[in-house]
């Protein structure tokens, strides 16, 4: 019997006006090559966020959708939606 664990970014979504990139990482447990367990961890990459530690695929998507226009629009959005407003 062999047990193996592997992780993969099994879902990458671009959502909303500000093109937030939602990344789901699946941790998969395999027993003799057959999947017996799968669990998820999620994170969101905001426009303009540092992507240096991301996978090449996520970097590429962020580079494509987080254009200067989108990043500036997101900054303006944050400024306009400060707490209490």
């Amino acid at each position: 019997m062999s047990l193996e664990e592997k992780t993969e970014e099994d879902k990458i979504e671009v959502v909303g006006e500000f093109k937030h990139v939602q990344v789901r990482t699946a941790t998969i447990i395999l027993k003799d090559g057959k999947e017996i367990s799968r669990s998820f961890h999620r994170r969101v990459i905001d426009p303009g966020a540092d992507t240096s530690s991301e996978s090449a695929e996520v970097k590429g998507i962020c580079a494509a959708v987080h254009t200067e226009t989108v990043v500036n629009a997101y900054k303006a959005h944050l400024e306009a939606n400060k707490p209490g407003e």
Partner: protein, 266 residues
């Protein structure tokens, strides 16, 4: 022809002795599937209705077996139904039918009869929008997602040189509603700025005045419940105390911030 073998009536094999037949064969019976069969597990009547009544009440299909119900007319009800009945009438049905006339795609609907009724009423429907309950047809009301998982809560404002002893976050998403349960134990130096917790698993819905909210369930800053206030179109929330006062700290801190936060996503 040489006779090589005789049966019990001393008639050569393959020999016709007499033939006086008329159709239908009223005195004929078989174990096959026909009007005169003695085996009635499967019967076909004169209207070509097929009845399947296995003695054990079980129909078994072989490996990769499937049942296809097809209505050749291109109408909204094309597809098929499984109807459960008693001797009093219909008790419920499962409909697998075409979504609309002349369109690809379909839905599955579960109907049951109320007590005292033999008229099925729609209870559940599954279509491309998701799961709809009762008679609801609104796409927005369809349950289209459920997911559980973890995220990493991160204090991105309020503490300098932060280091985490323990931190974990769990989420459950039902439809567009996200429920978070998180635990942070950290050390650092309070910056005096308002605390912001980032790392949400989904971006918050970007609709005006859609904020989400939550509270601390345990913290050791002393006496004050910390409240959490979301921000539309972002992946973080702000921390407050006493209603609208920003939650801050100064000096060295080694604290817990544990709580829940609920918000909507797209």
């Amino acid at each position: 022809m040489a006779i090589t073998k005789l049966n019990s009536l001393a008639i050569p094999a393959n020999t016709v002795v007499a033939a006086d037949l008329s159709y239908p064969l009223t005195s004929f019976s078989s174990t096959g599937i026909d009007d005169n069969a003695t085996s009635t597990a499967i019967t076909i009547d004169s209207s070509e209705n097929v009845s399947v009544s296995p003695s054990g009440g079980v129909i078994t299909l072989g490996q990769h077996g499937q049942i296809t119900s097809k209505q050749s007319l291109d109408v909204a009800t094309a597809g098929g139904r499984y109807i459960g009945s008693s001797n009093r009438g219909i008790v419920g049905q499962i409909r697998i039918e075409q979504t609309a006339t002349g369109a690809d795609g379909g839905y599955v609907e579960i109907d049951t009869c109320a007590t005292g009724s033999t008229s099925p009423t729609k209870r559940l429907r599954v279509d491309t929008d998701g799961l709809k309950i009762g008679n609801d047809t609104a796409a927005a009301n369809a349950l289209d997602d459920y997911e559980e998982g973890t995220f990493t809560p991160t204090i991105t404002s309020g503490v300098n040189s932060i280091s985490y002893g323990n931190r974990s976050g769990h989420y459950t998403k039902v439809g567009n509603l996200v429920f978070l349960d998180f635990y942070i134990y950290y050390s650092g130096t309070g910056s005096g700025a308002q605390y912001i917790v980032s790392g949400l698993p989904y971006a918050q819905k970007n609709v005006n005045y859609c904020r989400g909210g939550g509270t601390s369930t345990y913290q050791n800053y002393g006496g004050k419940v910390v409240t959490f206030y979301g921000n539309q179109g972002t992946s973080y929330f702000f921390c407050y105390k006493d209603g609208s006062t920003s939650f801050t700290s100064s000096g060295s801190v080694g604290h817990y911030l544990i709580g829940t936060f609920t918000y909507q996503t797209d």
